[in-house]
Symmetry: none
Subunit: 212 residues, 2 copies
């Protein structure tokens, strides 16, 4: 329940931000559509999530609205000066390069590589960021591992039941003893779930010799 009015500033909590994004985005698109219908307006709406995903809406066609917009904003779309587009691209590229340089630096710092001109305070912030990251990554790994283990255990139970049924069947037609033995061996090896999964590679164990 919306127990309090929220302040309009970036939501820190990642999952809360994601939930709010998808809810409010839907609301926004609905309102845009309603406005275009009620008031016979031509509307284009583009939304990029902070993960870079694109969502867009247009009451007619996106290109059409963009071109109409270009007409309004100082005839930029008419290429009176053929170099205007080029200039735009160039400035855009400059910006991209800057962003790229910034991200690269940030990455190097997170990897502990470019720390000489940081203050003690900066280093503390970096440390906190890394601790947060490692906490989440470890948790994710843990979750994944536990999931894999329980799925393996389920398979083990299935195979043991299958095995038992096959054995029962062989008691009725006892002329073939080889395959029974073979299956028994394979199933017992499956029971060896690694307990030291933190250092071993559990994912390699997932390729079972049996199809689902």
């Amino acid at each position: 329940m919306t127990r309090q009015k929220i302040e309009i500033k970036k939501i820190d909590n990642i999952s809360a931000r994601q939930v709010t994004f998808s809810k409010r985005r839907r609301g926004l698109f609905k309102k845009a559509h309603e406005l275009s219908t009620l008031c016979d307006a031509e509307i284009a709406l583009m939304v990029f999530s902070n993960t870079g995903k694109l969502f867009d809406y247009s009451s007619s066609s996106m290109q059409q609205v963009i071109q109409r917009h270009n007409l309004h904003s100082q005839e930029l779309g008419l290429s009176e000066h053929p170099s205007i587009e080029l200039q735009l691209e160039l400035s855009n590229q400059t910006m991209l390069s800057k962003e790229l340089a910034e991200k690269t630096r940030e990455l190097r710092q997170l990897k502990g590589e470019e720390l000489q001109e940081m203050t003690i305070k900066d280093l503390q912030k970096l440390e906190k960021l890394l601790v947060g990251g490692i906490t989440r990554v470890s948790q994710a790994k843990e979750d994944r591992v536990l999931k894999d283990i329980s799925s393996l255990k389920r398979k083990e139970v299935q195979l043991m039941e299958e095995n038992w049924r096959l054995k029962q069947a062989q008691h009725l037609t006892p002329e073939n003893g080889h395959s029974s033995e073979c299956i028994t061996i394979v199933c017992s090896s499956l029971a060896d779930i690694p307990q030291d999964y933190d250092t071993s590679d559990t994912s390699l164990k997932l390729g079972l010799p049996f199809p689902d």
Copy 2:
């Protein structure tokens, strides 16, 4: 008062339509702005009234968002005959954008934010990277702190020597007792190097009341 829920279809009454347009348009723009702020999204919104008037909003720059949108929808042909230079810049930009997206993703993963489609092996690699980073960052911080401390200690020794010389000088001309006392107090406070530098801000202690 909104005495009845309205149906979403074109409003026939012209003045009612105009009123609704200006109210809902403002609401829509507000919502767009809130979404961009709350969720760190890049948004462009263009609205043409049925009288042809343009209203637009962009969280950054309209041109930038339109270009980003063009990149996504792969319709790069804004003009009929893009020049060779423009084509070059565009491909260059595409490359830059890809790199940027890649770095952004990597950063997010280091911060533990986008882990859903990583394998256990990937997660382990990430963990190692983070551990390496945190080791180096902590070491750098430690080094910095120790350097600050030893520099402070050197200063302390210098000041104590100076202090001692001043005292000696005063024994030769004993008519002024105040300044001696004052300097003694300051020097004893310098001896209090913080042992809990991990949580206190050592750098603040560097601004000594004495010039070098």
